[in-house]
Assembly symmetry: C2
Homo-oligomer: 319 residues x 2
Amino acid sequence: MPSHANSLALLRAALKGDRVALARTISAIENEGPGSTEVLDTCFASTGRAFRVGITGPPGAGKSTLVARLAREYRTRGETVAIVAVDPTSPFTGGALLGDRVRMGELAGDSGVFIRSMATRGSMGGLAVHTAQVCDVLDAAGFSRILIETVGVGQSELEVAQTADTTAVVLVPESGDAVQAMKAGLMEIGDLFVVNKADREGSERAVMAIRSALELRAPRDAWDVPVLLTEASQGTGVPELAGRIEEHLEFLSRHGELRRRRRERLEQRLHELLRGQLWQEFHERLPATAWQGAVQSLLERRATPHQAAERLIAMAAKA
Amino acid sequence: MPSHANSLALLRAALKGDRVALARTISAIENEGPGSTEVLDTCFASTGRAFRVGITGPPGAGKSTLVARLAREYRTRGETVAIVAVDPTSPFTGGALLGDRVRMGELAGDSGVFIRSMATRGSMGGLAVHTAQVCDVLDAAGFSRILIETVGVGQSELEVAQTADTTAVVLVPESGDAVQAMKAGLMEIGDLFVVNKADREGSERAVMAIRSALELRAPRDAWDVPVLLTEASQGTGVPELAGRIEEHLEFLSRHGELRRRRRERLEQRLHELLRGQLWQEFHERLPATAWQGAVQSLLERRATPHQAAERLIAMAAKA
């Protein structure tokens, strides 16, 4: 483990373009290693320049391929790109690393692209906070676009998607009737919708279903949510997708909406950070055996969860 | 809103079999209404008798139909059944209520069945805690089996599934290669696997793929995870599913695993409850303008999230 001074030296190297140092800095943040607070504090002042683009959708929608193609498209537009893939794959499959290797093949050797997978590791919440922190480091490192790829099903994953400035929801023709997407809460968070694998049957029907579902959505602003067709494996539709993402970012900036969204996200992040910190401080004040004793009292129904919680809070207050 | 005394009177009626009172009691718990702590405290002592069965899987797997059929099967076995459907459908679709009505058609008029949908309502975490609390009320009300139906994708939803004693993961032939289920973390949480809509092409292949994926799973205990075929719309395979669920519950009881699991779940629940309570107490101690001031300082990069959190904690400590 690097010491505090080491981690700041590592960060300096990372900010100068050393990709190995960048990867190690991010690992230290993920592991909440020594010096990670200082690293984050240093980075934060330089954040806010990158646009953060969320790419989310059900497993199997072809997000990874689409993200790789989108990164390539952004490169031709002169942007530098960091990809943060939040992968809930369980540790035993090694899926995150595998995904990286597949992608690396497509984007290898381009120093204007940086790819990072984050495993969820079963951490209780806090995933959105960690993702935002990693994005801060990448933002400070000067990448102009950060693509955050998440499996967009489930509350925590939706929270991750919402650390982004704009969010594209990726579906496939088979998820056609849009009911599934509605169930997963995806219809509400998308600023853009993409029907990927558009060569498959039913893609036009899927577009129509998504449009109908969007009509049910509470109106928010003057942005006309586009529904695009892509075939990521061939790159078809990707330049248009990039174009529409950029349009939305411009739209957000022009209408003060970017600032409003970023404020909301910083607020959410502060909330999550505080919850974590309050828990940690509390837990450190507890006598060693108090926690297990409380759990035991629940198991034997000598106390209710509420009573056990009250007792532990009282104990910590006295300590 | 009912007062504390009212809510306890309501609970007493609920525990005597008044279903309207039961529904209203659960609403009060969900809304954290006045008296809900007392209601939960009263219920907790009578919990631990019902078996809680999680039914989870991707949207479109046919979970609702399967759960309705399973409830009917349990009724023929002489059990009483409560169904808790945790539905992340957004408020505007009214999906939760709709699902209830569809199910009610199948099970209407049977006082041995109670159905309750819970919407996630975008609450930040805490969903698993709420679900466990609602199950406590149903447990105290004397239902012998509680079926917890969740869309099993995403971290929060997996946490909900894990409030159950045993969990069945429902897939369809199309989710065949099991890779999607692995990505969603489902392969790790299932005690039983079900390939529903087994009349569709590929169901045998799906069973084999799930079996292969299970071989990659870290061995846990001597339970041989079954992979079953069902056709919920016809009821095919449902009696066998119920039989295997019961076998697993017996297995858990016999090997001390039930107690271990319940302990772990109570521990998790206490943790979540405390986190919520610590936040609430903290937030109440903060001066009125402190929170917005902190968010503003973040937006203007005058403070980092870490610094803002430290300052707020210091303010609350002084208050």
